[in-house]
């Protein structure tokens, strides 16, 4: 069942404003709407496409583009991408404007400093959640811990940690 272009665009626009915390928070809602309620995708396709979007570099919000492509080809991809990005970007633009207007207010600096725990707490939590999801083989938690230690204590590029992780994954597969 293929939706009309407008329907597709508006659906992803609505998802955009629900995505507080980025795409990982959005995944359950996106599944509910695209698979359960609209029936535009089946369950297996959804989860495989989502994993694919996660494996690629860059923001996981692009899972929306991938879903759009599966639903409606290149046109669907373009509409889904525009829909998922535009409303949130307009909101961020507006908030950045308020920030500038309020720059002189005594409370704006401390209020922004108050958001630091949210940034760090959620960053750490996403590490735990991703680590849990990635713990598919016995070595995985050790790779996660080793990589965390490497990033924290060293100033070398994180790419070394990712490459080492990938090689260890290959090694485990070759042996096992």
């Amino acid at each position: 069942m293929s939706p009309s272009p407008l329907d597709l665009l508006l659906t992803f626009c609505m998802l955009s404003l629900l995505a507080v915390g980025g795409a990982n928070a959005l995944a359950p809602e996106m599944h509910r709407i695209l698979v359960d309620s609209r029936g535009w995708l089946d369950d297996a396709t959804f989860s495989q496409l989502y994993a694919l979007a996660q494996a690629a570099p860059g923001p996981n919000i692009l899972s929306a583009s991938v879903m759009g492509m599966a639903i409606g080809g290149w046109g669907g991809m373009a509409l889904a991408t525009i829909g998922i990005l535009t409303p949130a970007a307009c909101l961020a633009w507006t908030v950045a404007g308020w920030l500038e207007a309020l720059k002189g207010a005594w409370w704006i600096k401390p209020a922004q400093a108050g958001l630091v725990p949210l940034a760090l707490g959620l960053m750490g939590a996403s590490g735990f959640i991703l680590g849990d999801a990635a713990a598919a083989f016995f070595l995985a938690p050790f790779i996660t811990a080793g990589s965390a230690l490497f990033i924290w204590r060293s100033n070398r590029s994180p790419l070394y940690a990712l490459l080492a992780g990938g090689m260890l994954g290959l090694g485990v597969f070759a042996i096992g």
């Binding site: 692009l62 633009w93 950045a96 959620l122 750490g124 990635a134």
Partner: protein, 182 residues
């Protein structure tokens, strides 16, 4: 923006192009690496403050970050350059992957490699949070808040909207109280 250097529009585009192209396993840790460590456009504190705001708003965290930081540097042109740079490479790569996936299905070797990368990428988010936390030296009440927020999100899996609605005002309130007393 204090004494930090303001990048040109072209530099913004290239910087965010680099973040997007490198950002395996989420862009937050990579954005910190590029903006704070390798390019030095933002201090550790400026990065964490703007990121906190970007996370409270709906939409991709670093996407919001790019819009706001771009506007602060060069208005609309800055925002477009940062956002465009950020999404360009990942979009091309992920679409190429979909085409390959539709063609060849799943190769077990690639699958095994990607599982290892995923495990290391998770550690990257943890390591970046630790590194930022130790450099910023937040006051004790903020350290408690960081641990509570991480536990709510990772252990109890509380929906993010609730964490932000409840912990956001508490954290801002504590920071305002501290600023008033100082």
């Amino acid at each position: 923006m204090n004494e930090q250097r303001v990048p040109s529009t072209g530099e913004l585009f290239l910087g965010f192009l680099q973040i997007g192209g490198l950002a395996f396993g989420g862009a937050v840790a990579w954005a910190r690496q590029v903006l704070v460590e390798s390019r030095g456009w933002l201090t550790e504190r400026e990065y964490a403050e703007l990121l906190g705001l970007a996370q409270v708003l709906p939409g991709p965290n670093i996407g919001n970050f790019a819009v706001m930081y771009g506007r602060r540097c060069h208005g609309l042109a800055g925002s477009l350059a940062a956002v465009g740079g950020f999404f360009l490479l990942p979009l091309c790569i992920v679409l190429a992957l979909v085409l390959v996936w539709q063609e060849y299905g799943q190769n077990p070797w690639i699958d095994a490699f990607m599982k290892g990368v995923a495990a290391a990428a998770a550690g990257m988010a943890l390591g970046a949070a630790l590194k930022s936390g130790f450099k910023l030296k937040p006051p004790p009440e903020q350290i408690v808040a960081i641990l509570v927020i991480a536990a709510l999100a990772a252990w109890w899996r509380v929906p993010l909207g609730w964490i932000i609605l409840v912990m956001g005002p508490i954290c801002v309130g504590m920071a305002l109280y501290r600023a008033r007393r100082a």
